[in-house]
């Protein structure tokens, strides 16, 4: 039961919804916007990946990621120590931004993805599903794990000349989390999710 018409969100072309196969893509014929990209078992995979992400985010946050050794002094850093160091220097605005985009929102997004896919999986209607889905869509671009990963690489290259580097288990957990997160955003079919949520809410 798909709607009779839909509109492209970027050029407002009125369209008959295409029904692409799993793995195929449906683009807007006028502006090229990616309308649908159905995935096999999208709900189940989203559930599994968000659960894996929620587990991995614990060691990624708590274990030391990168340590350095300069002139005999060694120093370990976790995901949090950047935030704390910035707070210590009274750069609270930057600290809050880093906290939000590298720690808080990845956690919130994984939690939302887990809650939504869990409810869809057990087919339980919940009044909040719409809100969760909306928040997930808006907050998604503010979780910047992959940008943070690039930041780690650049920082390490800069430090490599003046100090000895060593990598901790936190970094491996972080890389795993990054991979899980990328797979998650690839498997989550928001078109399907919205339709399922609408169907669930219609049931008595």
């Amino acid at each position: 039961m798909s709607p009779r018409y839909e509109a492209c969100p970027e050029c407002d072309l009125l369209l008959k919804p295409a029904a692409p196969e799993h793995g195929e893509k449906a683009h807007c014929p006028r502006c090229g916007y990616l309308l649908q990209r159905p995935r096999k078992h999208s709900i189940e995979r989203t559930l599994a990946l968000s659960l894996a992400g929620l587990i991995l985010i614990v060691p990624a946050n708590l274990l030391p990621m990168v340590g350095i050794k300069i002139f005999g002094n060694s120093h370990d850093g976790t995901l949090w120590s950047g935030v704390l160091a910035l707070l210590k220097e009274d750069m609270w605005a930057v600290a809050v931004l880093v906290l939000i985009s590298s720690v808080l929102l990845p956690l919130v997004n994984l939690g939302l993805a887990f809650l939504i896919s869990f409810h869809l999986f057990i087919q339980k209607a919940n009044f909040h599903l719409f809100h969760w889905m909306r928040w997930l869509q808006h907050l998604n671009e503010w979780a910047m794990l992959e940008v943070y990963a690039l930041g780690i690489i650049v920082a390490c290259v800069k430090l490599a000349g003046m100090a000895e580097l060593r990598f901790g288990f936190g970094l491996y957990a972080f890389i795993a989390l990054l991979i899980v997160n990328t797979l998650l955003s690839n498997e989550l079919d928001s078109y399907l999710f919205w339709r399922r949520i609408a169907q669930l809410s219609k049931k008595p």
């Binding site: 839909e6 009125l14 220097e89 719409f130 671009e141 940008v147 943070y148 920082a155």
Partner: protein, 207 residues
């Protein structure tokens, strides 16, 4: 050959819900029956919000580039870097690929976003007849690359955390870091508040 306005769902009497994508007959209701969000056919006050955010970002782009973004102390000798200074230092220490990466993320991307969004706003305001598909693609690129500007901020936060050995070796974030972070956030909001459908609204089709 007839010249007529391009068809849009709005002109055909439909509104797409911004949140869930549900299509609603115009004027029938003000709340989306599926998700309960209020519906408008275009993002409300899209142009005004985008202009305000771009101007604010432009104002902060100046201090972000003038003031030092971090200062590095090594064996008691302190050295302050601006964004450009940091890139020059990377080139001097033979790290050209990384220097290019930082140049793109910290200088070119914010500048491209500000100029690109201004171009899109001019196109909407003066109702230019353009290759709308190309302009929409420009908008998509702007919306996609915005978050990568945070690279410099994350790198500084990591350096500040790791290199903290008092007078021997220390990195301290400078005032430009706050300004630059604000530029990134403001331009991200600017890209989000712009509605690409406005480009299509005044295009004509030639058939």
């Amino acid at each position: 050959m007839t010249i007529k306005p391009l068809n849009t769902a709005q002109k055909q009497g439909f509104i797409r819900c911004h949140e869930c994508g549900n299509l609603i007959k115009s004027l029938a209701e003000t709340l989306c029956p599926v998700c309960g969000h209020s519906v408008t056919s275009r993002k409300p006050h899209s142009v005004q919000h985008t202009i305000a955010l771009i101007i604010s970002a432009l104002c902060l782009y100046i201090p972000a580039n003038i003031f030092p973004i971090m200062s590095v102390t090594q064996l008691g000798v302190a050295e302050t870097h601006t964004i450009i200074g940091g890139i020059v230092a990377l080139i001097h220490s033979d790290m050209l690929p990384i220097a290019l990466l930082v140049l793109v993320a910290s200088i070119l991307v914010p500048l491209m976003k500000l100029l690109g969004l201004s171009l899109l706003l001019l196109c909407v305001h003066y109702q230019w007849q353009v290759n709308a598909r190309l302009f929409t693609r420009l908008y998509r690129v702007i919306a996609f690359v915005g978050r990568w500007s945070m690279l410099d901020i994350f790198m500084i936060s990591i350096l500040v955390a790791l290199v903290d050995l008092g007078g021997v070796a220390q990195v301290i974030a400078g005032p430009a870091a706050t300004a630059f972070a604000a530029v990134v956030v403001l331009t991200m909001f600017a890209a989000k508040s712009f509605d690409p459908r406005l480009i299509w609204d005044h295009q004509f089709s030639y058939e």
